[in-house]
Subunit: 216 residues, 4 copies
């Protein structure tokens, strides 16, 4: 494997400066552990995601795809376990659309599991002092949509595909109610993404057998 597609999102709602898109731009064109990273920013627009993602995949022809998005309120980076075939938007996308209980792809499976070695990534993060975890839901908004789409488009491919949610950054947390939502500095989030790319590209064999589940 030697090509990595890293996507982030553009601005939406209160995220005027979306850190997921900023990290994708920062790492675009870089080489990490011998793998070439192609960073792409996709719009928070339910109709534009498919053409944007398809173009990025066609252009990059990736061996690894890591989709990132910001999850305000979460405490640490999280690898998503599963993408589900539904769009139920709690807030509008940037074009003002709020689909309710509509599929991402008609007549497609209910869900796809990640094909990233998520346990190995969480384990690698912890070894260097980065908090992180496996999340059981990517929500029902654009992050879940791009994750589901990428898995669907690459379902016959050997590419490893998964989603990484990042928490808010300090400037965003500084702008909201008291007490602030959790935050982590963008440099540290970039470091978490770099390490995720590295493990995703280099990990061999089945994922580590370490716990990452939830009671409910």
């Amino acid at each position: 494997m030697n090509r990595v597609l890293l996507t982030g999102f553009g601005a939406y709602a209160d995220e005027a400066d979306n850190p997921s898109g900023a990290i994708a731009r920062r790492l675009d064109g870089q080489r990490i552990d011998g793998f070439d990273v192609s960073g792409a920013v996709v719009p928070v627009d339910t109709e534009q995601i498919r053409p944007a993602l398809s173009a990025a995949i066609e252009f990059t022809r990736p061996d690894v795809v890591i989709l990132t998005g910001v999850a305000p309120g979460r405490t640490a980076p999280a690898l998503e376990r599963v993408a589900i075939n539904v769009r139920d938007f709690p807030i509008p996308d940037i074009a003002g659309r709020t689909p309710i209980d509509e599929p991402v792809v008609t007549d497609a499976p209910a869900a796809y599991f990640t094909t990233l070695p998520v346990k190995a990534i969480v384990d690698a993060w912890r070894r260097v002092g980065i908090p992180g975890y496996v999340s059981q839901t990517a929500g029902t908004y654009l992050c879940n949509q791009v994750f589901y789409l990428a898995r669907h488009l690459l379902r016959e491919s050997t590419a490893r595909v998964g989603m990484l949610h990042i928490p808010a950054t300090p400037p965003r947390a500084a702008a909201v109610a008291m007490p602030p939502i959790p935050s982590m500095a963008i440099d540290h989030l970039e470091e978490a993404v770099r390490l995720a790319i590295s493990i995703a590209a280099r990990h061999e064999g089945p994922d580590l057998s370490i716990g990452g589940g939830a009671i409910s």
Copy 2:
């Protein structure tokens, strides 16, 4: 429709008196809006769930199946949107087993969506002042397992199948750290379950088109 199977769980870990099982016993044999309720308590044992659930389904031949379980830490009753084909136990079951990233059913779909009218149930709850919501994850423990299994076993059936998570009850919350976890009285939880059964059995046509999603 006139037969309802309502399951709850038995004791496990800190849940010596599991309120989900208690409600299933309370409603066993009752008639709600013309529907006969058969209540069953299933063990928190990953190997015993399938025989227990199969027997209950065979015995009841239900038109509606509502699986319930307790979700300590949650604030209100929740209808689960989706069951996923994985077992990743954060704590052992009562037989001491902690499967990691094993499927619930080998060679089966990644997930099944609920077939209950979950939006209509949440809407009905709110109209009578019961807080509740649609949850995007049932976890990766026994609750998710029984939900996945029931949907899988009844995948060719017209039966409506779904999962309802309840919060802890006050006596359980009174026993833990300060400040206590959220709780609701068992009588009110029973009322929420009764109303869910009623709507699940009587609702006609597609589910209500009201928002119930999450950003992440």
Copy 3:
């Protein structure tokens, strides 16, 4: 001791039907364990609290004063440890005032501790399965103000004075965002208040020596 003054608050902001005031009205005129309860509803108005409270104290001449208020977002009933001499309102009172860093009483102490046996009350709650705890802050809004004022006005008295915060009730929680805030049924909150009155009136000697603190 045989006279108890129980206050709650009237409507404000999103609390159109303030459960603290409702409980004060319910218990007004009742006799609990031989003690006569006088219930009073005070307005969420920073200028009206002192005359309203003074009148209620003069009228009742209480041996025990329990001030109650609703704390949306909390999980269980809480006895407040301390009242502080500050008003720093995060939202306006019903007259539109938002004092910032103003004292409750000029030239008065920085704080007063509760004189209720708060540990004994929490212990009694737990024995009957009611979750509850000792809270280290009553905030800087009206609840803290009425608590500080009552302690100040009765500082030379032998009356026991304290504040009891209650969580939201289910109908209020059903009206807000998903997932809902925690809630407890008003009948159970009334039961918690009744037991607090009973222990506050009957407890003899120093408070129980059981932990109720917080790291931060």
Copy 4:
């Protein structure tokens, strides 16, 4: 003003590498905006705090005293509004003592307010994108004790005295349950402490009149 005493704590419980003590050591001997910082690490020992703090005050003869401590679970740096005269330890100190409802100083006031310009510090943090807030409780453990003691010892002095709680750092958060507790990188926390020192030393006149309160 030109001398600043900055204290942090040593190890305790799960805080083998207490970030508050680490920052005090980092800034010891530095000059910030013309003010000389003397950093001291005090032990998490209820009997040793007074001699350690007294010695540091006598040695430094500070114009500004900022006490820091870690508050695992909090989301951002917080300036404490008030110190209360109680010790009610939820966990033992490093010598195994767990005082319950004992005063910090016998026959002393119930509380002291901070004399730092806490609103101006929070405002300065936000202007540079550091999330932070005014907290209404410093708990009832060692952080509150050292804050109360410093205010008491310097009650006749013109020195500005206050407490600054910091959240956990990423390595600590990486070691605990999933999802992790909130965390911020120690370099950013050091930056927050530096700015607090700068504002505390330079701010003139009364504190800013901006909201920093809580409903409950």
